[in-house]
Subunit: 297 residues, 2 copies
């Protein structure tokens, strides 16, 4: 069979332009410049040897014949979209196994799993809850939610969320102060930091308009969960990722001391094995989780 088909890319541009009756809007829809649409339409018109649009002063209108063509193309492109969506959905079945730290799983993943299952009914998730960073193969993992920078070698890191932090403390510690507190007041309180990540405190003070104060009381913790526990116990102020502690903020066991927030250069990533084929189910999970977390901010 030999079909005689015009350039399909041109047809797509034409369909969009016809639907909007505007090259500019079509360009926006297809994420190109308006000039690109103009080129494509022109090429298609040359191909057919006929005008598709009447160019008016500040708008374009369709030829009668072109309108019929556009209507058919609209249907056809919808069908393509449906067919490929169906194909994608068929790939979203089976089980994927993901390593997560219990800390993160309890706060950010498990509470929302119903939503995920509603979106991807055919896809089962298994979680390997552990603080160890294990080999993918060793534990039969398809992916791992990992906290840190996005530069893990041998894996593709899909960003889920970069920490968005502000100083938080137990209300017991700051019950007398009015909120929000000035950076200077905060500097006078004991500060909890993750060992090796003290620079985030100085970044925060800088963002809050003050140099890092000398002579403040600072405690160092091996993990951010421990720093957070320390703050919860009323012993110090910690820099905490706000989406992660939304429950504590909501029930009042922690209060945010300042409206100054900074985005760190570390956060949660979904690590998946490198290679030419990225499991679309993992990409879907990562996308869903990113959307979920950003909805919490």
């Amino acid at each position: 069979m030999t079909r005689r088909l015009p350039n399909l890319k041109h047809l797509r541009a034409f369909e969009a332009a016809a639907r909007h009756l505007s090259f500019k809007q079509a360009a926006d829809e297809l994420s190109v410049t308006q000039a690109a649409i103009s080129h494509q339409i022109k090429a298609l018109e040359q191909h057919f040897g006929a005008r598709l649009f009447h160019r008016m002063n500040r708008q374009v209108t369709l030829t009668n014949e072109a309108a019929a063509l556009a209507a058919e193309l609209e249907k056809v492109l919808d069908q393509v979209a449906v067919a490929s969506a169906r194909f994608r959905a068929q790939m979203m079945t089976g089980t994927i196994r993901i390593s997560v730290t219990p800390f993160y799983a309890n706060r950010m993943v498990l509470p929302y799993l119903d939503e995920f299952h509603a979106a991807y009914p055919g896809l089962n998730l298994e979680f390997d809850l552990s603080y160890e960073i294990a080999d993918f193969a060793e534990r039969d993992l398809d992916g791992a939610l990992r906290y840190g920078h996005s530069d893990r070698p041998g894996a593709h890191m899909q960003l889920v969320h970069l920490d968005l932090v502000a100083p938080v403390a137990s209300p017991a510690m700051v019950h007398r102060a009015e909120q929000p507190m000035k950076p200077g007041q905060i500097a006078s309180l004991p500060l909890a930091a993750v060992a090796g990540q003290e620079r985030y405190w100085s970044q925060w003070f800088k963002a809050a308009g003050q140099a890092f104060p000398s002579g403040c009381t600072m405690s160092f913790h091996e993990q951010r969960a421990l720093a957070l526990d320390f703050a919860l116990a009323g012993n110090a102020v910690a820099l905490a990722d706000l989406p992660l502690i939304r429950n504590e903020l909501a029930n009042g066991s922690l209060v945010c001391l300042s409206e100054t927030q900074i985005t760190l250069d570390r956060g949660i990533h979904l690590a998946v094995p490198e290679g030419p084929f990225r499991d679309p189910r993992l990409t879907a999970f990562g996308d869903w989780l990113r959307g979920r977390v950003s909805g919490l901010i």
Copy 2:
């Protein structure tokens, strides 16, 4: 509306490969190399993050899900082909007005018009029969069938037929000679040439394996129609375009004296106005006529 569509070119390659279950045949269908199809399929597989084909030793087979996708794409691409064919057909309406010499019209165009109307039912042809070469605008012409070289300035020349000539004569003139005649015998007869185009006789003798004979009797005519009349009247041998005189050859009023035929550097062209938009109806007429004439050879 924002559709999420895979690259349409890749989908087309995939559909062809799926239909043939062969990258190579798909490549042939789409007039590209096998490597190109391989690239496109690979890109599509990366896009979906899933295999479309199982690669066997020397053949490929479809994934179940991919087979479903391919079936839908086949339908969809057929629809696109139908829609664009319909659009093209809708352009093939109205009337086009073409200038033709009466000589040519009577022999090559008017006898076959029924065929053209059968092929393009909605398209009317009007002929302006004249030997004058008129301006397109002046006589409200859309195109002109013109004899000569393909270098007319200010017009796009679409080749219909380059003269394919052989020496012909009235049977009365050559009744005693056996056919075909040797070039030497032909040289001894009076030859009719179009003024300024004597070189075609020498080209013909060269092709027939003989230098142009000196001292032959040659008459010169202003037009090829007149040279042909002269031959019809039994006065000389003329070099005539064989499709053009098929009726005379068929009814015996002319005989072809040699099997040596040469293609000249001049012939019939369809001249249309230059410009970015070439009327597809004229292109269709030119294509049809070229096919018609080549069928007469």
